[in-house]
């Protein structure tokens, strides 16, 4: 058993109220850009007087201040104890009470023994008011093992917390439940603010809620006053503007013992008649009586930004938001905090926010090591009191959540609506008849070879091919007239994808060659048709991926290596600052003429999806995915050479291969013997002939030397066929007490008054002008400030 010794004093201290927040809790779970969103806040002042308004009493003339002040005066309220049951709870200090036959205060803020309960050890509160002690060192909930000793060495195991606010200084007392002659403290002090919980699925919700519940002790016994105060009374959309901030909670409801309502899309409770406007959560709650789930005549009263439901049961209210909404909330809080008028958007609320975690039953602030929170708990840093006054933070554009378009569809077709840059929507048509690409199947290519060679080599069979080429390409005397079929075949390439769906095509049944007087009939019985590629390039869209952030700070970029693997292009390193936290798209453009390809990796970071301006290329990688199919011995040799000789470019290969074909054809044509077998033999041996004429002919045919690109041949087909991105991040180990011992780089980096800081600080190049001390003292002060002091 772990013992905590607290001692009583007679002194009650009034001080500010501050909720405990969690540092570095689960932000990794929602990829939040915002630096420190898990802060605490003060309860809105508006809440206060309403809490104590008895059911049957109408406050007419009393101001809130008067009412509040009266409640702060210790007084006997009729059940045996004074009003000093209030508890101070600030900066890790709080009052402890125990209840036997009456409330006994066993420790308070002024007790020095209590001060050792520092922020790292402070208890967390659950809804029943029992303190959960959480040891941050061993990360263990000590609640069941903790007791308190008072000055008489009495042991107390049921420990309650009571709070006492200094409302005149902006703090607000929170309500407590009073039940007849006994007193239960509703420790709702931590039931406000943004609460994040996991619903057991993959979604994390942010719950923003204020609620209070107390039982009337006035004329109406056994009646509960349920107070609901939405933290944000507006709906915020991503496209908000200055005047129409809209914030629609993901869900909103009021729950009782066993019922829950949700506001439907019309802003009304489903089937229960209580009217709410969707853009103002409680703005139009009208006083009146409503029947709620069988409980009739629940009285609803609205007081400013809160409303109270009087009824026979305690209710709770919740609003939950998606993670995306949280970004919006935090951004808006940051943005409008200092700019909006009181009673405008925020209605005078202090807009600092607090965070807690709901348990499975949506009970706030019950921090437990349960399965559903295992991942969250594992990320918990030591409990610490934190207080970030976001009013001090100016709106910074970097806090705007990045635009995150939804990924495009997953097919590799570039279609209307696909989220690919328009640059890939351009068509590169074939503008001349000098050259034509035919998309063919393997069977058709095989048929082509049969037409070209098989019949050609057999002079005992008169084939169309032979007749055509021998008869038409040579004159009656057998002398050279024009080249043979191969003269007109520039190349045949294999592409590792189905191109017919990627380019605009025209269906044909034969391949005219040369002047078009002759056509190669290469269709097969099952695939009789060919497709002319009307475009010079094919576009392949690989889809979009999101590169997540891990730490949500500089560590996402520092010591991080991101590499994109692009099939047939190799790997390319990406700058983390270009891609982390963004959607990445990848699209290939394939040149059907030379088989080269370019992979484009780009970010989809703009709002205007579909415009080039919305995309930013972060990497372009050239490669080769169309591989030459040798059609002659010369070509085969050249393909082999390309695979063996470094630096032998594919473009040159194509050029020379085509030239070799041409030269072979010409050599064949110049052969006086028209014997096709001899002609074929000449094909085989003519590869080393001059390419000059062939080059000239290619030039006349409108073919320029293709661009050069790397390629390693058919072995590339054995590489992974999908593009992917590899993210390699280094582990960072934050030592215990790192904040205390080392501190963090500050957002100050500015000339600021040290009174703004607490804890460990290191200053740079301190200027002690104006210090009225001796020189040695000045030097020592300077040295200490620049090496680190605790403010």
């Amino acid at each position: 058993m772990i013992r905590s010794d607290f001692y009583t004093t007679d002194q009650t201290t009034t001080s500010g109220f501050q909720l405990t927040g969690l540092i570095n809790t689960i932000k990794a779970n929602y990829n939040e850009e915002f630096g420190n969103p898990y802060m605490m806040g003060y309860i809105p002042f508006d809440v206060f007087p309403d809490l104590y308004k008895p059911h049957s009493v109408e406050w007419i003339s009393e101001s809130k201040t008067i009412i509040a002040k009266s409640l702060m005066i210790p007084q006997n309220v009729g059940w045996g104890y004074a009003a000093n049951l209030n508890t101070t709870y600030q900066s890790g200090y709080f009052d402890l009470y125990e209840y036997s036959n009456q409330w006994n205060r066993i420790a308070d803020n002024s007790d020095p023994q209590l001060r050792f309960i520092n922020a790292g050890e402070i208890a967390k509160l659950n809804t029943t008011g029992v303190i959960n002690f959480y040891n941050t060192v061993i990360k263990h909930d000590l609640s069941n093992d903790t007791y308190v000793l008072d000055t008489n060495n009495r042991q107390h195991t049921n420990i309650y917390v009571k709070q006492f606010m200094d409302f005149l200084n902006g703090d607000i007392t929170l309500p407590f439940l009073i039940n007849g002659n006994t007193v239960d403290i509703e420790c709702i002090t931590d039931d406000d603010g943004i609460i994040i919980y996991n619903d057991g699925t993959n979604d994390y919700y942010i719950v923003i809620t204020y609620f209070a519940c107390s039982q009337d002790t006035g004329n109406v016994q056994n009646s509960y006053r349920n107070l609901f105060t939405p933290y944000f009374k507006y709906t915020a959309s991503k496209n908000d503007d200055e005047n129409t901030i809209l914030f629609m909670p993901h869900t909103f409801g009021i729950g009782g013992a066993d019922w829950t309502y949700r506001v439907n899309s019309n802003g009304t409770f489903d089937g229960h008649g209580a009217v709410f406007l969707s853009n103002y959560l409680f703005g139009n709650v009208h006083d009146g009586s409503y029947n709620v789930d069988g409980m009739t005549n629940n009285e609803w009263r609205r007081f400013g930004n809160t409303f109270i439901v009087y009824g026979s049961a305690r209710y709770w209210v919740y609003c939950s938001y998606t993670i995306e909404d949280l970004r919006t909330i935090l951004t808006l809080v940051n943005k409008y905090k200092n700019t909006v008028q009181a009673d405008s958007y925020l209605n005078g609320y202090d807009t600092t926010v607090s965070v807690a975690i709901f348990d499975d039953n949506n009970v706030p602030k019950r921090i437990r090591l349960v399965d559903t929170y295992q991942n969250l708990i594992s990320k918990l840093q030591p409990w610490q009191m934190v207080s970030i006054d976001i009013t001090a933070n100016e709106f910074d554009p970097k806090d705007i959540p990045p635009y995150q378009p939804t990924p495009g569809d997953d097919d590799n077709n570039t279609e209307s609506g696909d989220k690919v840059p328009n640059q890939f929507g351009r068509t590169v048509g074939v503008t001349s008849n000098f050259i034509t690409n035919y998309l063919m199947t393997e069977g058709q290519i095989s048929k082509l070879g049969e037409v070209l060679w098989t019949s050609w080599a057999d002079d005992t069979v008169t084939m169309d091919m032979v007749n055509n080429f021998y008869g038409k390409f040579h004159d009656a005397t057998g002398s050279w007239n024009v080249s043979d079929a191969l003269q007109f075949i520039v190349s045949c390439r294999l592409f590792p994808c189905s191109l017919a769906t990627l380019v605009d095509t025209t269906q044909v049944t034969s391949i005219p060659i040369g002047t078009g007087a002759f056509a190669l009939q290469c269709g097969t019985s099952s695939e009789p048709n060919f497709f002319i590629a009307n475009e010079a390039t094919a576009i392949l869209n690989c889809g979009d991926i999101y590169i997540p952030r891990e730490y949500n700070d500089y560590r996402d970029f520092e010591n991080t290596k991101i590499t994109a693997y692009l099939p047939f292009c190799g790997s390319v390193e990406l700058n983390p600052q270009d891609v982390v936290g963004k959607w990445l798209g990848c699209t290939y453009a394939i040149d059907l003429f030379d088989g080269s390809c370019k992979a484009f990796i780009y970010t989809l970071s703009g709002n205007d999806v579909g415009y080039e301006g919305a995309y930013y290329n972060v990497a372009i990688k050239q490669g080769q995915c169309g591989f030459l199919i040798p059609m002659s011995a010369t070509q085969a040799g050249q393909v082999a050479s390309r695979q063996k000789v470094d630096g032998y470019t594919d473009g040159a290969l194509l050029y020379q291969a085509a030239a070799g074909l041409m030269e072979s054809a010409m050599a064949l044509g110049g052969y006086s013997d028209a014997n096709p077998v001899s002609g074929f033999n000449r094909f085989v041996t003519a590869g080393t002939a001059s390419t000059t004429l062939a080059a000239q002919r290619l030039g006349r045919a409108g073919i320029s030397a293709p661009s050069t690109s790397g390629g390693s041949g058919f072995t590339d087909f054995h590489q992974p066929a999908s593009a992917y991105v590899q993210i390699r991040r280094s582990y960072y180990q934050e030592p215990l007490q790192y904040e205390h011992a080392t501190g963090f780089p500050t957002n100050a980096q500015r000339y600021d008054n040290l009174s703004q800081f607490t804890g460990f600080v290191i200053c740079h190049n301190v200027d002690l002008s104006g210090f009225t001390c001796h020189e040695d003292e000045r030097s020592e002060i300077k040295a200490l400030l620049e090496s680190g002091v605790y403010l």
């Binding site: 390439r493 991926i545 590169i547 169309g626 999908s722 960072y732 600021d752 040290l754 460990f760």
Partner: protein, 153 residues
């Protein structure tokens, strides 16, 4: 000279020391020999509060001192060696100081600033994210492109 004795447990780098309750105060302390105001020696009565304290306040000088050592002398006297706590002595001026603060607590942290002091393990976590669509066929589904001169009619 008046000297107030305290027992302070705060780290020397804490600007505002928690003095706690005053242990003792004397008005008859004497300066021992010529001494620096930053590291003075005081001649005091040898008393328990002298050896049980570690911190003193000299109101006349408006300065706070650490007691670095105590030398017992004959005759019930002791020489108390002190060193000034320049932070506490200039607490208000320091808090009012404008300065560039490069490191601080969590609530002033700027996550976008590189923290060069945070230990980094060279072990790297590798995460691979595959683009959803495979541009090239894993199996089969090839295409042949036959490029011919002319041919389009």
């Amino acid at each position: 000279m008046r000297i107030e004795f305290y027992n302070v447990n705060d780290d020397n780098r804490v600007v505002s020391k928690n003095l706690g309750s005053i242990i003792h105060a004397i008005d008859n302390a004497q300066i021992y020999n010529s001494t620096s105001i930053m590291s003075p020696d005081f001649l005091v009565d040898y008393a328990p509060y002298v050896v049980n304290s570690n911190y003193v306040h000299v109101p006349l000088w408006n300065r706070y001192y650490y007691i670095t050592d105590v030398t017992a002398s004959p005759g019930g006297r002791a020489v108390m060696h002190c060193r000034e706590d320049v932070l506490m002595s200039n607490e208000s001026a320091i808090r009012a100081l404008d300065a560039y603060v490069t490191r601080g607590q969590q609530n002033h942290r700027d996550g976008n600033l590189v923290d060069s002091k945070l230990p980094v393990k060279v072990i790297r976590d590798c995460n691979t994210i595959k683009f959803p669509s495979s541009p090239f066929s894993e199996q089969g589904n090839f295409a042949f492109v036959l490029t011919v001169v002319g041919g389009k009619r």
